[in-house]
């Protein structure tokens, strides 16, 4: 079912996420409790994204929000990815929930990337950077 304010292409991208999560859960052979927790986490993340796009229906504003969301998610993935590296270095393996979060966030990045314009990303990072300097 198409949601008001979200076009078909966007919605298809969102719906593919659940299928890709299921594949990921199989690959990682998640135990049932972790799988349920992570599935809930993925659904919450997906719901937040759809609600965001549904709420902001101004096309120009959306361009900025796509870029801001991409920066947020990419930054999240950088953090999880580094955490995975150090978990492996310290214990020999990464924790399942860190792997799921990293891979899921990467799926979101992939899904919204087609709608992201480079100059909007530059606007967002400049915006965030200038805010930090102002705050300091």
């Amino acid at each position: 079912m198409q949601q008001e304010g979200v076009n078909t292409v966007e919605l298809n991208n969102m719906l593919r996420m659940q299928q890709r999560f299921d594949e990921m859960a199989d690959v990682l052979d998640l135990d049932q409790t972790i799988a349920q927790q992570m599935n809930r986490w993925v659904r919450d993340q997906r719901g937040d994204l759809i609600r965001l796009l549904d709420t902001i229906d101004d096309p120009e504003e959306r361009k900025h929000i796509y870029a801001a969301t991409w920066v947020r998610l990419k930054s999240q993935w950088v953090v999880y990815n580094t955490q995975i590296g150090y978990e492996i270095a310290k214990t020999g393996e990464a924790k399942a929930d860190t792997l799921v979060k990293a891979a899921t966030v990467a799926i979101f990045v992939d899904a919204i990337e087609p709608f992201v314009e480079r100059h909007e990303v530059e606007r967002v990072t400049a915006h965030v950077g200038s805010s930090w300097h102002d705050a300091a």
């Binding site: 690959v27 990815n81 580094t82 799926i107 992939d110």
Partner: protein, 121 residues
């Protein structure tokens, strides 16, 4: 015991595209900045990136951003700078692919000064 055949390591100077494509693991030749000069068939299939699309790009920042941290790229740069590149590390790739456990071996060919990244899952 490394997954890379010692004979491969001892004959890096003659590892051309044909030989690299025949290897049962990934083989990526990079310069000192990480720019890809050769991207073999196995790695191309694992990552879903054609060699022509990978070659010329930076392995650590553009093709395998999972490795863009101090554990891998930082250690690569430090080792290249000190002329002692030869280490192996376990990692899990998660970026735009199913989580994939891999082992990376990074080594410099002392005769040609080329750097090689070998990947096995």
């Amino acid at each position: 015991m490394s997954f890379v055949d010692p004979q491969v390591i001892s004959s890096l100077s003659s590892l051309d595209r044909g030989k690299a494509d025949a290897l049962p693991h990934g083989a990526i030749k990079v310069d000192d900045s990480g720019t890809i000069q050769l991207y073999n068939r196995w790695e191309s299939q694992l990552a879903g990136v054609p060699p022509a699309a990978a070659e010329g790009k930076n392995f650590f920042t553009q093709i395998a951003p999972c490795t863009n941290n101090r554990l891998v790229f930082g250690r690569f740069k430090d080792s290249v700078a000190s002329g002692s590149l030869d280490f192996e590390i376990k990692y899990t790739f998660t970026y735009k692919m199913k989580p994939t456990n891999v082992t990376l071996r990074l080594v410099k060919d002392p005769s040609t000064k080329a750097n090689w990244v070998f990947v096995k899952n």
